[in-house]
Every structure is written in C-alpha cells, then in structure tokens.
Amino acid sequence: MSIRRYLVLNLFAALTLITFVAAIQGYKHSMTRASKQFDQQLVALAQTLTVINLNTKNDKNNKNNPKVLQHESSFAFQIFQEGELVLRSKNAPDSAMNHSFAIDTEIIGFLDGNFLGQRWRVYSFVDLIKKTSSVEKIIIVAQPLQKRFVFAQDVILSAVTPMIIAIGILSLLIYIIITRGLRPLRQLTKELVIRKANDFTPLKLKAKNSELESVIATLNQLFSRLNSAFERERHFASDAAHELKTPLSVLKVNAYNIQHDLTHILNYENDSVNQLVLSVDRMSHVIDQILNLNRTNPEQLVIDSKVVNINYLLQNVIRDLYDEISDREQTIELESEDIYLMAHEFSLQLMLQNLIGNASKYTPNGGYIKARTYISENHDLKLIVEDSGNGIAPEEYQRVFDRFYRVGGDRHNSTVIGCGLGLAIVKHIVLLHGASIELSKSTKLQGLKVTVMFPKSLMNAASNKTIPSPPEVMKNV
C-alpha cells in the first residue's frame, strides 16, 4: 500500500468516524436540551391552565359530560376537579392521562405514557384553589414525544449537514495536500525504479524539503562510494593482469632460453626444464582464466553490446586456436553463415575460445571438432560445438559449471592444462546474454555436444541497427 493511499484512506476514515461520534454526542445533547425545554413548556402551560375559572356548580348536570376545547395545538390537556373531568382538549382522552399502567396509580409530576396510539410526555399538577380549601383541581398536560424527536433531529441535522459537506471538502483537500506533499517522494521512487542496476551516477533530483534532501544526499553519497568500489574492483582485474602477465612473460621467455640453450647448445635433455616450461604455461593459463572469470562476472561487467557477427568471431577463434588443433592433428569444421546479434564482443569471443579450446583439449589426437550455428524453428540462434572425445557423464553435466570443478577430480589427466574455470566463465557469459546452455552426447561424433541458445531478441536488436560494413580483414598474415 502506498503512503499516499494509506494517509488518504486513514485520514478520511478517522475524520468520518470522529464526525459521526461527535454528531451522536450532539444528538444526545440536543435531545436532553430539547426535553428540558419542552418540559418547561409543559409546566408553563399547566400553570397557565390554573387560571381558567370553571363554574362547576352550574354544571352539575353535566357531570359526566366535560367541556371539550377545540384547538389546533399538539398539546393535550385535562382538568379534573374533585375527581371529575371538567375540561379537556380535543386530542385528550376521557380517562386520566397520568395513569401509569405499570404501577396502576396516578402520578403527579412527569411521566411517559401511551394513549390514543401515541407516546406522550405527561405532566400532572395539583392546584389548590385556595390555600385553605380542600377542593383540589388536577391539571394534566401532555405532548407527543414524537414532537421532541422531530425537533431534536431538526436541530442535529442542521448542525451536521454543514459538517458532512465539510468532510467532503476536507477529504478532497487532504487528498490534494498529501498528493502534493508526497510528490518529491514519488519522483524519487520513479527515478530509482527506472535506474539500471549498474548505474551509479548521482540522482539529478532537486529536493525542496529537508527530509528528502538528506535522503537524496545520502543516496548520492552511497552511489558514489559504490561506484568507486566497483571501479576499483574493475581496475583491479586489469591492474592485476598487467602486474602478473609481464613477470610471467619474463618467466616464459627465460624458461624458453634455458630450454633452448640446454638442448641446442649443450645437447642435454633435461626434464626439469620441460616441467618448468609446462608449469609456467599452466600458471599463465590459470591466471588468464581467473582474470577472465572475474572480468565476465555478471555483477561486474558493464555490458556495452554492439552488433557482432558470430561467424566472423568463430572464424577468428578457430584461427587463433589452430596451432593447438593442428599440433594434435585434429580436424575442425565450421558450418555457419553471417548471423548478426547484439552482444558483448569480448566476452562472446572468450566463450567461443573456451568452448572450442575445451573441445580440442579433451579430444584425442586425430579427433574431430565441429562448430555450427543456425537459426532454429523458434527463431533462436543455436550454437553447437561437438567433438569426438570421451565426453562427460550426464551426472556431471551440472557440476562442470562450478568453479574449479574438473571432470574426474584429482584423477584428472594432468597433461591437459586446465584449472576448471572454463565452463564457469562460459556460464557467466551465457547469463550475461540471457542465453541458455545445454550439454549432451553428440550423436554424430560420440563426444560432448554443447548447445548455446541465444534469444531471438538479440538478433532483432542487431537487425534494427545498421549492419556494419564487413569487418576489415585481420592483418595477421
């Protein structure tokens, strides 16, 4: 749930609830006030009625025939004199209105009672005509309770109506204010969402409020620190490369010189020197592979793709590796056509080097290696490298991609230079390109078959760019 939604909904709910509770309180309060008011009216009316002079003596014959007063008020009243009803309003019953059925007695004072199909508020009052006289006159006045509710409702309604309108306006205002107030936060979120994982440039957002200002400042600081950390990491690979490769070259050239001098000048075959040369070769291979593994780490590599012709890369890789392949009297065949895809050229070439290099390394002398590319039925690009070597057991297919894992473990044939990083590097590069890799047994050549599938989006992206003029022929004649 977004902060804005949370704030708007909760504020609106709280506002409505509190207003509602307040309205109920107001209603109750108005009701009591109205009751008091109406009760006072009843008392006043009763007292007013005492002044009516009733000549009862002249109306002896009308004993059970009280006078009925015609009037258009909601009030009802009865006047009893010496136990006889002498006067009543038109809307009053003949029996005493102050008769409480609950306790079956007549109550002086206030009482709520039911008669004539309504609920009434009744007030009875005993008037002694003269202080000394024993003649008593009972005056009973009543008013329908309904009247009071209607009045109280009127009062509360007129008080609440503007509040309800106010809630509407307030909600709208709250929505607008919150939306406006949270706008910088929303912009920040948007900026962060569209940001690429490896983009460490500072945020260009200008914050007007102090809270966000410090957030953005902190974020920018973090970005710049991350950036320099990643830069250092990246530079480390190339620095290490340079620092390690030059001394290794010195080692290699000197080992070559010693070997050459011993065999050609002194005619002395020395296995230690051969082992030295081999070990130096092995070490340079391991260092190369570790650096490549580091360099192709998907978290490290800023991939700047460009249009690459996979056929051209394959030809180059085979040319570079041909020395080893011809030394081992292996036959290599390439079946490919110019297919352009958006890819990171260096890493793609590295991948092909590792795949074809592996095929040559793990195939016996005189074996076959075949590389081919084609567009599959679902428009993916398939790259297949297969060989006539011993292959890999299916149960090891998953593990060969682990770092430093070598087929056969320690029993591994040590004459093959390797460090178990080749396929881990390949895996990195496959991930980088959103491709997938699959190992199987080659049906044609009986060895290992490696299939790499590149999604068609890479080719589509390449065809959207102008296809570059055929690359200049490498001048490595």
Binding site: A241, T246, P247, L248, R319, V477
Partner: protein
C-alpha cells in the same frame, strides 16, 4: 633484421634480447615512448616490437605518431591488455600483429619470420616446407627438387599460404593480398586457384578448414 624493442620492463627486455639475438636478429632496446620515436626518426630499423603500457606515453600513441609520419614499418604489439577492444584498436592503428602477454616465444618467432619473409629481409628468399620449396625472389616452386610451373596468381596464393604456414588464411585475406598486388579478383577466384594448386602439389599440402579458410601446415610429417 634489425628490431627496435620498446618495452619498459627491463627483465623482459633482457630475456627477449637474449633469445632474439640468438635467432640472428639485431635488437635495439628503448624503455620509453619518446625514445622510441627518436630512434624511429632515423630509418635504420626493420621492425618494431611495441609494448602498450609505457611509462611516459601510451604505446598506441607511439604507433599512431609513427603511422602519421607515413612510415610503413612493421609493428608487432606486445601487451598485457588482451581485451579484444585493445586488439582491434591496435590493428586499426596499423599494427601488423598483436601478441597478448604472456606470449609463447615460439609464437613470437613464428610471427617475426612471417613478417621477415614478407618484407624480404630474410637471409634466404627460400621458404621450405617438407618437400616443397618456394623461391620468393626467383618466383619458382620446387617439389622434390623438380621445378613446377604455376600461373602468377597461383604462385601468389601459394606464397601467402607458405609465408604464414601453420596459420589459417581466410578467403578474404587471400583476396586482399591479391588486391594488394593490383590483381582483379573474381568471387570464386581463390577457390579456383587453390583447386589448381592442389592438383600440382603433394596430397594434403594445402588444407581446407571448412568454414574458416586454407592453410599449409608447418610440417606435415609432424
């Protein structure tokens, strides 16, 4: 052949000097880019071996300045930067070859031989592989001591392949070499020449690497 070695690492320079002198090359060594440019202002070098990571300036700038002066001196780049970007850049700037460190001494020697044969400073104009001998000066080819006759273009194709024995030459590379000699090249010309060459030469002397190109192995008997 006189070689100018531009390398700031003294240990490497010394080792290289030792092995290259023994192979009959004359080595002059400088350890800075500016010194290299000074040395190259006098045209008495046949080839430059250039390290890219120099203390005073980038090796690529040395190469650029050299080419700006319209010098066609062959340059082999030797570097610890082995990324494809710097390789392409080096070749774009006009380097003749590129060897990533740590390189194989045999590889460096092989490449030096290729350039040596091309620029014709080799002590002998004879390239000999197994029982095939190619005389670059006399434009003659011998198989088992018998002279064989080839057309001019066939001879050129064979020369390209034998000069770079052990390395694959793509059809485009062979075509571009023919162009360099001012020859018109038809689309399937290379295939035709190779076909004719193969008929006259020993079996399997010219190898076809399907999908990649052609090569003459360094030594078939190997």
């Amino acid at each position: 052949m006189r070689i100018l070695l531009v390398e700031d690492d003294l240990a490497l320079a010394k080792a290289l000097q030792q092995s290259l002198s023994r192979e009959g090359f004359v080595i002059n060594h400088v350890n800075k880019g500016k010194l290299a440019l000074v040395a190259l202002s006098v045209p008495d070098q046949d080839l430059v071996i250039l390290d890219l990571g120099l203390p005073d300036m980038d090796g690529l700038d040395v190469l650029k300045k050299l080419r700006d002066k319209n010098s066609h001196l062959p340059v082999i780049i030797l570097t610890a930067r082995d990324s494809i970007e710097s390789k392409v850049k080096g070749l774009d700037y006009g380097a003749d070859d590129y060897l990533p460190k740590p390189f194989d001494m045999k590889e460096l020697l092989a490449r030096l031989r290729v350039i040596e044969r091309r620029i014709g400073t080799a002590s002998s104009s004879l390239i000999s592989i197994d029982n095939v001998k190619l005389d670059t000066a006399a434009h003659e080819v011998y198989v088992d001591g018998d002279i064989l006759s080839f057309s001019k273009k066939e001879f050129m194709v064979l020369k390209v392949l034998m000069e770079s024995a052990g390395r694959i030459q793509s059809r485009e590379q062979i075509e571009s070499r023919l162009y360099q000699w001012g020859e018109e090249v038809l689309s399937n010309a290379v295939e035709v020449h190779i076909h004719k060459l193969r008929k006259k030469l020993p079996n399997k002397f010219i190898k076809n690497i399907r999908g990649v190109g052609y090569t003459v192995n360094k030594s078939i008997s190997k």
